[in-house]
Symmetry: C2
Subunit: 271 residues, 2 copies
């Protein structure tokens, strides 16, 4: 395989070779292994859920950049302009009307979580379970509470209740924005739950426990999941023992007071 | 620049190209930018301080692998066998005798934090300050509490007090192991404080606030810093707004109870 490397990157590679004693081949191999192999086991996220709860709604990461770190995930958009779903490398914006819209590459996100999807194991479930029962079933599947998991639940749903947050043009706290959010009910619908398990010790970094967004199979509707009743679904689980966090370098993030305990407000806003 | 890429990595690159629509050139460029450029602003750590406090003293990351993620940092070794200092790409083991030893590549670490050192700005301080006064001075330098900083303080010290934890052959909690640790006093010594600032919202992930290890200029002595009195030092600060966490995939880590609040025990063990 013949690869051309830009002069800027070549200069950095040469400096790194001097610093570390590695050869250029070794540097490229380390970089590729890190990006391609390890990243399939890596959760990438921008900002922290704690900053979002405090009202830091503007990030500096574009959708184009986000896609470099994963093809599966969820999040929101600058000014809280709806819920994000990333599925099969495509990014959807679920606006407050409950409809799904494609997203331009230059749109930015204040909080998003993605990984490259690769199911480590699958299960099929064909009984009507509500959201709490589904979560208890997932508990029996996950071998440890201490790493992240990406989870995709695809199939037929009797019922899905979602909310889709409204764009905020004024500064607000997340708990206030969430209190006004439109709720949508979908009956007898095919689609996907896209989400993650986050260990409780990461509760200031991401949403602890399960967190799912829904996208209908026709890619027309969805939102942040409040309740479901499944009918027949396939469950895929992707072990994710690595985490990359890119903190925004915006003045808003750097100046925020992130010392408060926001668990109560997060629970109120997300559940 | 001509680079040979192994057949295994070529196969993964081809698959990723199919999945994402990127060319191989683009994949290599994304990987290199991620590894070389962004990593200079990235804190890499293995495991979490919460797991260390709970007594998870065996990790799966070797010193050889750790060096791929940084040339500056600190940590400990499997079974808590002393304090780690990484400086200029070399790894030192500060054993319970207070002496510094070079470390073999195959040694493993249960907790370590590194970055590629690149000072974003420097300051010089030439007045006798104790550790608390030094920390208050550093507070005035850091523009935000909300990102990580790598900090190197080099020069002449009137006094440094360190502890170096002893190898634990029996399961213990960190707070118990730390209670028995040998303390060392160095008078009128040249050397480096190697350390980090960690935002308080990351307190389950790494040591919140300032955390320094000391290594003497003759690379013979040092340890975890309990107290200092500086005489004349140069301070370098490296903004680090990105974090990579590699969670150990050992049974010990996966099975640990990491839900307790360990702040009190961490404070007791580290201060």
């Amino acid at each position: 395989m013949q690869i051309n490397i830009s002069p800027q990157l070549q200069a950095i590679i040469r400096k790194r070779c001097q610093d570390t004693g590695h050869t250029p081949e070794e540097i490229v191999a380390i970089a590729l292994r890190g990006y391609l192999e390890i990243d399939e086991e890596t959760l990438f996220q921008t900002s922290t859920i704690g900053a979002l709860v405090e009202g830091v709604y503007r990030g500096d990461l574009t959708i184009a950049e986000l896609k470099n770190y994963g093809d599966f995930g969820l999040g929101t958009f600058n000014d809280l302009d709806g819920e994000m779903v990333v599925l099969d490398g495509q990014v959807w914006q679920l606006r407050s009307d409950g409809q799904a819209y494609p997203v331009a590459d230059e749109v930015k996100t204040p909080f998003a979580t993605v990984t490259f999807w690769q199911a480590d194991w699958m299960a099929t479930l064909a009984q009507p379970l509500n959201y709490e029962e589904l979560q208890r079933y997932l508990d029996t599947l996950l071998p440890s509470d201490n790493i992240f998991y990406a989870i995709k639940i695809s199939g037929q749903f009797r019922h899905v209740r979602t909310r889709t947050i409204e764009r905020q043009d004024q500064p607000t706290r997340l708990v206030e924005a969430a209190a006004r959010q439109p709720v949508h009910e979908f009956q007898s619908v095919q689609g996907d739950l896209i989400g993650f398990w986050t260990p409780s010790y990461m509760k200031t970094v991401n949403v602890p426990g399960y967190h799912f967004h829904f996208l209908s199979a026709d890619r027309q509707r969805g939102g942040h999941v409040l309740d479901v009743c499944i009918e027949r679904v396939d469950i895929g689980i992707d072990d994710t023992p690595r985490l990359r966090v890119a903190l925004p370098e915006t003045q808003e993030f750097l100046a925020a007071n992130l010392t408060r305990d926001t668990q109560q407000e997060l629970h109120q806003a997300e559940k």
